[in-house]
Symmetry: C2
């Protein structure tokens, strides 16, 4: 496979081309990942997430620059929202990243939140693997907001940085709570604003309630726009990887991810088989009408299809 | 089934008890829904969603009061965020709703975003069906934010009201775009604030780009806290249901929902069977280690398990 050698040698065009393929062609994506999988697992994957308005993009930039200053190569996957009407990315090319984009040690890719047959989470995972083989020492995944879909994406990261800012409203405070547990490190960005200390104290108070964790996530106050304390944040990220390795947590996380990935693939494949069989498919269509007409219910309908499927596989 | 008669007669305690059961016991939930399903399909389900800070709770209250003024009964399901540490709802009991709570024509239920084995979306759907049989003319589902999980919840509604407010940042603007298509009606809340006209114009511009839709979602400017133009919003909601019925869209949506629901149930059941078989389960555990050690890849692993499963069902 010529492309594997090129990717292993760090050919940027091959890397870009392979990511485009995994974005657009599920069958080809499968072949590529099968072929390169054995070369993966070297990069330290950092997920940057948090509520909108937290300055995650700026923080990602500065973190990438700090990594470059330390001689490391960086791959960045920025999850951009896409308009459902135009099909194009709203934020478009990231002008702010242009100085990074010309750096040969940095690879940047924007991925939209729509248009992936197999789901964005899957496309992101595949892109991560390609960047890993390409030779990125660090891969940063930056999300736009924080919700279930963003959690699905960043939970494949080794280190999740949850970015907070002072002075967000009550609603955001509430959302924050629901996703606090995925943060390995809490970065309070815009810490030159009033209320930064209070936000840090609130995060600390929430973490205090969680006595079950082996490791207490550190809280780092930064000002990304001024590049202030980004080095401290990076030190914490590196130290988190050391913890993951020494505690056995890295192995556990990678096992959990492998389990989820295999299960998801089996699920997709079985559903494909179910829908492919014309007999189960006909019964499905009939059941849908019956459910809508209240002649049956979804549970009874699915049970009938299951019996048919089991008898005919 | 005694509880069915009680529920059909509008017994509030039975309604509350049944919702608690479907929240906590998947097997019992299944039996309850099977038994009551034929009585469902009467209520008009309204989903209230939009970015945090939009005043969705206040809007839900005022909408419920307007419905009561028109002699209609109302069921409200408020999706509350839950702390991962305490397990309890952060917003807790909704003090703001206490005047509604004492009204016999209103049933209010908060549901947390965690702790549902079968997923919150499924628990919400079951609760909707119970409220429907209980006799609610209208059921309002109110989400906290807007993301994939919220979309999964409100897409079961007949009418989705997307709540916007003037002066949200760029990030929110971007998130908005990704979820615009699920809005049947756009409510610009806090329309007494500066920039309300601009926000309405922005929404209008986005809708203008979507020429494919048969129906153009109306934009309604309201001030929920002052009860201003809530009646106009309700008129639009009622008129949307008339459109759904006359265009055949209601039937289509209910068919789509039935399809999704049946498919999801089959998926869950098949995965249960896969994991139950000790043989496939053993291979799964072995495969996980091999994937982590890069001796195989997730695709090849899932293919092996599928072959084993097909030969042994």
């Amino acid at each position: 496979m010529e492309y594997i050698d090129k990717l292993l040698m760090g050919d940027k065009r091959t890397c870009a081309r392979l990511i485009s393929i995994v974005e657009n062609n599920e069958e080809e994506a499968k072949n590529i990942i099968k072929n390169i999988y054995k070369y993966t697992g070297k990069a330290h994957v950092i997920g940057i997430t948090g509520p909108p308005g937290g300055g995650k993009s700026t923080l990602t930039d500065k973190l990438a620059k700090e990594l470059r200053n330390r001689g490391k190569t960086v791959g960045i996957i920025a999850i951009d929202p896409t308009s459902p009407f135009t099909g194009g990315a709203i934020l478009g090319d990231r002008i702010r990243m242009q100085d990074l984009a010309t750096d040969p040690g940095v690879f940047i890719r924007s991925m939209g939140t729509r248009g992936y047959l197999g789901g964005l989470s899957k496309a992101t995972q595949s892109a991560m693997k390609i960047l890993d083989v390409y030779g990125a020492d660090y891969i940063i995944i930056e999300t736009v907001g924080v919700g279930q879909s963003e959690i699905d994406i960043v939970k494949n990261a080794d280190t999740v940085v949850m970015v907070m800012v002072p002075g967000l409203g009550d609603d955001i405070q509430a959302i924050k709570a629901g996703v606090m547990e995925i943060g390995d490190i809490f970065a309070i960005n815009k810490s030159d604003l009033d209320g930064a200390g209070r936000t840090a104290a609130e995060v600390k108070a929430m973490l205090d309630m969680d006595s079950q964790k082996d490791r207490r996530p550190p809280i780092v106050q930064v000002v990304a726009s001024l590049n202030k304390d980004i080095d401290v944040l990076l030190d914490e990220i590196i130290s988190h990887m050391e913890y993951l390795k020494s505690s056995g947590e890295l192995k556990k996380r990678r096992e959990d991810n492998a389990r989820m990935e295999i299960m998801k693939l089996i699920e997709t494949e079985i559903m494909r088989i179910v829908l492919q069989k014309s007999q189960t498919n006909q019964v499905l269509e009939k059941s849908i009408s019956e459910v809508v007409d209240r002649k049956t219910d979804p549970f009874s309908a699915s049970e009938s299809i299951m019996i048919l499927f089991s008898n005919n596989i």
